[in-house]
Amino acid sequence: MNRFDYVRPATFAEAIAAASEPGAAYLAGGTNLLDLMKGGIVRPGRLVDVSRLPGLGAIEWLADGGVRIGALVRNSDLAHDSEFARRFPAVAEALLSGASAQLRNMATVGGNLLQRTRCAHFYDVAGACNKRAPGAGCEARGGEARNAAVLGWSEHCIATHPSDFCVALVALDAVVEIAGQGGEYQVPLEDFHRLPGETPGQESVLEPGELIIAVRLPAQAASFSRHARYLKIRDRTSFAFAVASAAAALRIEQGAIAAARIALGGVAPKPWRARLAERALIGVGPDRTHFDRAAEAALADARPSGDNAFKIELARRIVARALALAAAGTPARLPALPGSPFSPVAGVLHV
């Protein structure tokens, strides 16, 4: 790990000033940043520790029925907040399908949004990577592409965004609140992450020094609470990143779908909202034929970025199955294996 200065600011203003210096990085839970620093993938000259900055740790219910989640709320605290999980069950399920209990106790909301890709070549500092070193080339092209993108990628970078949380959030129209030297502003989560294009190193709209202060979910997002699921295919049942995942939420009125929300994870450089697929479901019955059609629409633009064409069919099936699970209804209690397609049949132990 490189040497760095460590500062622990007491206010937003101090934090933003300290982090606006070149080479500075915010430290929240540290679960991604310290890992990357240990591998020499990032080498910040200064860590601005915001993990105990006051005013960023609350879950606030807004008068209109929405919720404002402080950037420092820990992933586990959010997922286990019973009111939050009741209103936004797919978000709680996505959170609990990610990482491990220890990591979720450390990981923050802001850090989860800004976690870096798990592209193996990004981690291999001996190899070429346009994200780490602009213009160096991309070793993942023709290399290990199992976790690479099939949507939204460019010739310059085929990496995916690994978050589960963000997938459920983007499906439900979350908004990111940001503070910087120019004041505060907000951006829909859907527009927060950037596609790689020719500049894969620029992953979000944040300017140097800008701090995520909160994430908001609108009241309307809670109208899906009776039919909302997150489904995630991994290489093992728990404690693994998604090969492909989907959040699906439906509002069903008199036997027909009145509104639908679909987003995909593990298949694109950012949490991927599938709006065309959502539209294909309006007014139709919640049945398999329509779910398959929506899944087709969700992956219509997909193309392999290497030896990963299997992910397109896999993602289609995940979308259709997530929709079927959502239509069946949100379970009264979160499943024992959150997000898992291998949830046990009653009485049968999964080993």
Partner: protein, 165 residues
């Protein structure tokens, strides 16, 4: 750059001067305080061997900077037994063969203590396994670990009933 951190470790106040902010909580415990019960497996958040409780919550000490723990209460495997009597989770791990080589065991036990404090898994073996998925056991003692945690929950409930009576 020098920093000083004040911690409570297993109930004892410790002030440690850090010559370098790169020190993780794991390295502070093992290298500076001589508490080598907490293990370093992967050093990258992937195995759980370094699990300790910070302010009552289980975390990976390998991904935690010691400097950011200033003022925290840390509990490690060395602090679990009280007056020479093993903690019920320790007893249960022995009773159910919850280990083979023992390398992952301090992390497993601290994680199990954290899981029981959280109270979300109850007596459902599937929820216990899921809640313990952050602790890898290369010897594959998982069946014993799950049985030990179920038993420890019973032992703790009995102890609490006895104390209440």
């Amino acid at each position: 750059m020098s920093l000083s951190v004040l911690l409570s470790v297993n109930g004892v106040a410790r002030e440690v001067a850090l010559d370098d902010p790169r020190v993780t909580l794991l390295d502070l415990l093992r290298e500076r305080l001589g508490l080598t019960g907490t293990k370093k497996g992967c050093d990258r958040g992937q195995c759980g061997a370094c699990t300790v409780l910070v302010d009552g919550r289980r975390i990976n000490s390998c991904l935690t900077l010691a400097a950011s723990c200033d003022g925290a209460r840390v509990l490690t495997i060395e602090g679990l037994a009280e007056e020479g009597a093993l903690h019920p989770v320790q007893e249960a791990f022995i009773a159910h063969d919850g280990f083979q080589c023992g390398f992952c065991t301090p992390g497993q036990i601290m994680s199990a203590v954290g899981l029981i404090l959280e109270g979300h898994a109850g007596d459902d073996p599937e929820r216990i396994r899921e809640g313990m998925s952050g602790n890898i056991c290369r010897c594959g003692a998982y069946a014993g670990i799950t049985a030990a945690i179920l038993d420890a929950e019973r032992r703790l409930a009995e102890r609490n009933r006895a104390e209440a009576a």
